[in-house]
């Protein structure tokens, strides 16, 4: 069947092509399509019966001339050829070279959909990654094998934050713990893609980066493939070549929108805001590919970036993402407008794996308590700030005024830092104590009395 060209297209609309008169086509099979101009397009069988076969065409079906469209069913899923040579290369969303260099030749071709990991084969991620960013390391730490997205909004510096993480990420006390990077961009602008490329070049990691780019003006449906191709490369690097892989993917919102576009065409029942009910499962197929496996030394740490439509964290895309990932780093417009970089809004941010990756045997014994205390004190400080806005700062009690100062210091000195500033986790913790020392020790009940005695600057 692979070599037969069918010219039996029945209809085509918005990316979906119906083929008649082809029997026995396998579900999920890759399709190669030649249009009237002789250009090749890629597709996937999403529904198959002997009467009709429904094909999703990545490059769209807009100007197809049904009479002059030749279709081959390749009888295998989408596969990505992998070899060591993928490092340093740039591919398009479907895994073909876009750097002008020859395609990867390899007998090892992997189904981009992967297969779900057996839950009994996972190893729990516990190794603290120092990103050098206090708001992350101190309060929402990243762990090797974690999936920790950045929730952002239009115009916020998520790219700069992601690039800073890529530059600075390392294991504590292990200089050889370098990452290789798999970078996937879908629906992003050329400028954003170039920003990353230059940032990788500047920091000299470019030879350890594999890029998959499907930019804003490129085929929408191909976006459904891009993260899968990228993760297939990541899995190969992690589990075949034992690398620790950092996967940066941007922008998940563009991915979800592409999924919605196709779902609408297929006539799938929408759940919320027109997104199909399976958006959750579909996103999970992507995000759950992060992790560690027992008895394998590599790992996949994932930092997806997504822009929240209208800065709304309850929008289905951030919402469903948050339900799948192991926390989220939320960037906020308010801090950004005040000139704080990185504008991490800490309260809605979370790292679920932090509890098992910091503290006595990992970073420093006071770390979990300090983090919890910063959250509690800052939450209280924000309440006070809200009150001050109503009754005026002069009317505040002395103790409340201290909280106001604490909030200010915390935002400027702890959250705020330079784009090239690479703080050690100890610097971060010491800074935290400097700030907590602005508050009376008896109000700090999330840290132990011993820790207060040891680190609080006002304790006698």
């Amino acid at each position: 069947m692979k070599n037969i060209e069918f010219r039996t297209a029945v209809s085509a609309q918005g990316g979906l092509l119906v083929m008649g008169g082809v029997a026995g086509v396998s579900a999920g099979s890759r399709v190669s399509l030649k249009d009237h101009a002789g250009n090749l397009r890629n597709g996937l069988v999403i529904r198959s019966s002997d009467d009709a076969v429904l094909v999703e065409v990545f490059e769209g079906t807009d100007d197809l001339d049904l009479e002059r469209t030749w279709v081959r069913f390749l009888d295998e899923p989408f596969k990505l050829p992998v070899s060591r040579d993928i490092l340093g290369r740039v591919f398009n969303g479907a895994g073909l070279p876009r750097d002008g260099r020859p395609p990867i030749i390899s007998g090892d071709r992997r189904d981009v959909n992967g297969e779900p990991l057996n839950p009994a084969a996972r190893a729990y991620p516990r190794e603290f990654i120092q990103t050098g960013i206090s708001a992350i390391d101190g309060m929402n730490s990243l762990t090797r094998g974690q999936k920790l997205p950045i929730f952002s909004g239009g115009g916020l510096p998520h790219n700069r934050v992601a690039a800073q993480i890529v530059r600075q990420a390392k294991l504590l006390g292990d200089a050889s713990s370098e990452f290789v990077v798999v970078f996937a961009a879908f629906g992003t602008s050329h400028a954003d893609a170039r920003f990353f490329q230059e940032s990788f070049e500047e920091s000299g990691v470019i030879n350890k980066v594999v890029m998959f780019l499907n930019l804003a003006d490129e085929p929408v449906i191909e976006r459904l493939l891009t993260p899968r191709a990228a993760l297939t490369a990541a899995e190969y690097l992690a589990y075949d070549l034992d690398y620790h892989v950092l996967v940066v993917m941007t922008d998940m919102t563009a991915y979800a929108e592409a999924l919605r576009e196709v779902a609408v065409l297929r006539g799938d029942v929408p759940a919320r805001k027109g997104y199909p009910g399976y958006l959750y499962s579909d996103l999970a197929e992507i995000y759950e590919r992060a992790g560690r496996i027992k008895n394998r030394s590599g790992s996949i740490t994932m930092i997806p970036v997504l822009s929240m439509p209208s800065d709304d964290i309850t929008h289905p895309i951030p919402d469903l993402t948050g339900y799948i990932t192991e926390g989220q780093i939320v960037l906020g417009r308010e801090l950004f407008n005040q000139g704080v970089y990185p504008p991490v809004t800490v309260l809605p941010s979370l790292s679920r794996l932090m509890k098992d990756g910091v503290g006595k045997n990992f970073t420093r014994e006071d770390h979990p308590h300090v983090a919890s205390q910063l959250f509690a004190s800052y939450a209280k400080a924000l309440e006070v700030r809200g009150l001050a806005a109503i009754i005026g700062a002069e009317e505040l009690s002395d103790s409340d005024r201290r909280y106001l100062e604490f909030a200010q210091g915390f935002e400027r000195r702890f959250i705020g830092q330079g784009e090239d500033e690479d703080r050690s986790v100890y610097e971060t913790l010491n800074l935290a104590w400097d700030l907590l020392s602005m508050l009376p020790p008896e109000s700090l009940i999330r840290v132990s009395e011993d820790e207060l005695a040891k680190y609080h600057k006002g304790s006698a």
Binding site: A23, G24, V25, S26, A27, S29, I46, R47, S48, S49, D50, P77, N113, G114, E115, P116, L117, N118, P119, A120, R122, A123, Y124, V269, P270, A271, R272, G277, Y280, S281, A284, E288, R296, T314, H315, P316, D319, G322, I324, L347, R352, L353, K355, P368, S372, F375, A376, A379, K380, E383, G386, L387, I390, I391, L396, S397, S399, P440, E442, I445
Partner: protein
Amino acid sequence: MGKILEINGPLVKLQLPETVIGEQVRVGRIGLVGEVIGRDGDTALAQLYEDTSGLKPGEVAEGLGWPLSVELGPGLLNAIFDGVQRPLNAVREKSGDRMARGVSVPSLPRDRLWHFIPDPRRRNATQVDGGDTLGSVQETESIVHRILTPPLIHGELLDLAPEGDYTVEEVLGRVKLADGSIEKLRLFHRWPVRIPRPFKQRDHAVKPLITGQRILDTFYPLLKGGKAAIPGPFGAGKTMLQQQIARWCNAEIVIYVGCGERGNELTDVLEFMPELKDPHTGRPLMERTLLVANTSNMPVVAREASIYVGITLAEYFRDQGYDVVMVADSTSRWAEALREVAGRLGQMPVEEGYPAYLGSRLAAFYERAGRVETLSGDHGSVTLIGAVSPPGGDFSEPVTSHTKEIIQTFWALSKELADARHYPSVDWLESFSGYVPSAAKWWAENVDPGWEAARAQALDLLAASEELQRIVNLVGVEALSSEQRWTLEAAGLIKEGLLQQSATDEIDSYASPEKQFALLSALLEIFRHGMRLVKLGAPARRLIQMPLMAQARRWKSQHKSEDMDALKAKIARIPAEFESVAMDYEQPSSPIPAPRGEATTHAERRAAPRD
């Protein structure tokens, strides 16, 4: 033999005459398993438990002749199964780290020998009925697995094997049924998951499920055999709370169903459970636990099944006379799987894409909880605790609102509390429990007669402080009277010193009922002492600055449940702490306190700290 007509995602249309809805089918060359969900003449619609890519129209399909069933017998505990009861460790041995398709492994190990001891009651028995105990197997050190006659079997017991070692498949006995046919008995039997296992009658639930979590046990109790829901936005702490319950609750068997959630969370359970000791028996927790795992990246159809697999396993242990707890994380993912299938079947969606039968399915599922008199006259219970993951954290969405009508205990998690890392983030105003009167009896008999009153007083305080906080947010704390300020402070003390309880705090992760009550009554005692002084004229500000107020907030993390004496010693000093303040106000010679807002009194000045 039939064949595949069409493949559409997890749904396949088959030419398969004479099948019935619910029948298991095996489809395609690689042998994917699924179940029939619709019929139309000679064609049947089936949903498959595994990914369908690669299937082709024309490939074979066959009906297997039975509905989705589970194997019930020794070998369940300590194990992790997928959504259709495939043992994940055995699957891994066979097919590697990834879930290869079409792998079939029996749920219970076939080669393992179990030491069977016949029940003395069966020695001279001629008649056996469904649910009768045939004998027992010591499955783990802490759990005796009772071997039950399958529920629908009634007849003459022809023979029963003597004490000895048997595999699950060996024939242990034979029963002659009314129609003269012979039924073979083994260590295990099968049961279809969508049909509740029968029992004699429902009993009243009477005993609280002690979870060691104060906000649950003391404030919003759940009974053994009860139904509870934990709704909350992402990251609010549903999973952690369920894991805490799985760790510490005083049930005998715990079934943890990970339904459409994260793989690492199951790894977490698998790693910590064997290391922790059951506070009630001292044995490793894993011995009483079993896991059902269909993670979010595993096929959706099996996700829908996993909940039923879990509850059937729970009922089976209930029928052996055990108190079983099943936690399901998350029921929303199950409902979504239902929605997905309904959508593909073209059923009319009613709200947010969900089919009209969502409510009745949910109700029927929770109805399988309960305390019962078993067929053999024992008592057992299934307690059901379902997490709910409302989109956008909006509790008015269909799954949350339907669930709320069904359950009796509602542990509502709050985003605000979680953001401030106040855990468990159970909202003390939005949560409720319909089991308080029954729980009160138990607390009165086993811990303290004052429990119900103390609980109510604490809740009143919390409610009052909410009102006061609203005022403060508008005009500042200075606008409050001393009594009001003290009320606010005492509520803060209860929130931080009692309600907040970190799962990661080694000492405070579990609190016995005695410790729970000791803390509750101690904090209320502080409130009362202070209130008396405030009424005598002591300014709240001075009381708030007493070192006791910071100390009392730390008590929970300083003393384990086994270390009650030290805690009680601290509590006993409360009156003395207030005594020193009281002297300034009770004695006739003490200066009359100045009205609020004016010059501070002598006493106040003396106590005034740095500011």
